[in-house]
């Protein structure tokens, strides 16, 4: 029961955030805000990805067998060269699992 209440709470919060600006269709922005919005996805996604690569377990992992870091760098390289999403995801995941397998980090 408590879990269902939590799910409904998360639904309410997430929906309110997503609907916030759609709810007032006539709201317009000053130029500064519009300019700022252009940087949001890059800033937010980088802020999620970089710590996940450098600290996959919640602490610094600058080690040669950190597959998150190595495959993450490779994914960045693929994305910069190809600008292709599927190539980045496919190449990144493939190299990640090959590295984990090579380092004996997969529970097989």
């Amino acid at each position: 029961m408590q879990i269902w209440l939590l799910i409904l709470g998360m639904l309410a919060i997430t929906f309110m955030i997503r609907y916030s600006f759609f709810a007032w269709p006539n709201l317009r922005f000053p130029r500064l805000v519009e300019q700022g919005l252009h940087y949001v996805p890059v800033a937010v996604l980088t802020a999620i990805v970089v710590p996940a690569m450098l600290m996959p377990e919640g602490e610094w992992a600058l080690e040669w067998d950190n597959a998150y870091l190595l495959a993450g760098l490779l994914a960045i390289f693929i994305a910069a060269i190809s600008r292709n999403l599927l190539a980045t995801i496919g190449g990144g995941l493939l190299s990640f699992f090959l590295l984990r397998w090579a380092f004996g980090q997969l529970p097989l």
């Binding site: 996805p41 980088t46 710590p51």
Partner: protein
């Protein structure tokens, strides 16, 4: 393009992002069973909340025995970026009725935003671009539900699936979205500052460091862009009046 063409193009264009979301959905399904959710509760969270990173973090917090208030606060902080997506797409949906705006907002995810923004930015004038939005968003939603189901089944069948590192799928997806966006110097600087601040504020509770990092990245990006604009203006004035400062 017609409505149905827009719709199908939306379904098609989001497919690469779904490849990245599926492992993420699978690990969510798997972990939710591990956190003590029933099958219906795991399905319910994916169907009603529909926010991958928030669901993932919520499961981690619940497994750690944290109270409901903290989970809800974290959900708010982690999903705050969607307010900015909502703001960015608002000019394109403001002419639609709420019958459209409510479901489109409910289905607004990182993945959907990435392809939809791209569609709205393209030059052709099409009155049906919201059908593209609908197609992309619905495809993402259905895939997320199927991935969750697969994860629940997987989690019940395979031991230790949580230790495989399926969460790397999220990294690869976000890299694939963010890196091609870094075309200008302010964009690159914004990303570097956000990364540095995220690492420095890692210790802050409830993912507050994420918000600090995002704000720092945005401020730096806007500042550099405005500086470049002022420079270009000065340069243009000089070209127009080369003798103003004395020949």
């Amino acid at each position: 393009m017609s409505r149905s063409q827009e719709f199908w193009h939306g379904c098609r264009d989001i497919l690469p992002l779904i490849v990245g979301a599926i492992p993420f959905g699978i690990i969510f399904g798997t972990l939710s069973i591990g956190a003590g959710f029933s099958t219906w509760q795991a399905i319910g969270m994916s169907a009603l909340v529909f926010a991958g990173s928030a669901q993932f973090i919520a499961i981690t917090l619940i497994t750690g025995g944290v109270g409901a208030a903290v989970v809800l606060l974290t959900t708010f902080v982690v999903n705050l970026r969607h307010a900015l997506y909502s703001a960015a797409l608002q000019p394109f949906v403001r002419h639609l009725s709420s019958r459209w705006r409510v479901p489109l907002a409910f289905w607004l995810t990182d993945e959907a935003f990435a392809v939809i923004q791209h569609r709205y930015a393209s030059d052709d004038v099409s009155p049906h671009k919201h059908w593209f939005f609908l197609g992309a968003a619905l495809t993402m939603y259905l895939s997320w539900q199927l991935a969750t189901l697969a994860g629940i089944a997987f989690g019940q069948a395979v031991p230790n699936v949580a230790s495989w590192g399926l969460d790397f799928a999220m990294i690869a997806t976000f890299v694939g979205i963010a890196v091609p966006m870094m075309r200008t110097r302010p964009q690159v600087a914004s990303a570097l500052v956000a990364a540095a601040v995220a690492l420095l504020t890692w210790e802050l509770p409830y993912k507050l460091g994420l918000i600090a990092a995002a704000l720092a990245g945005i401020v730096v990006g806007v500042w550099l862009e405005q500086r470049a604009e002022r420079r270009a203006e000065r340069h243009a004035r000089k070209e127009a009046n080369p003798c103003k400062s004395g020949c």
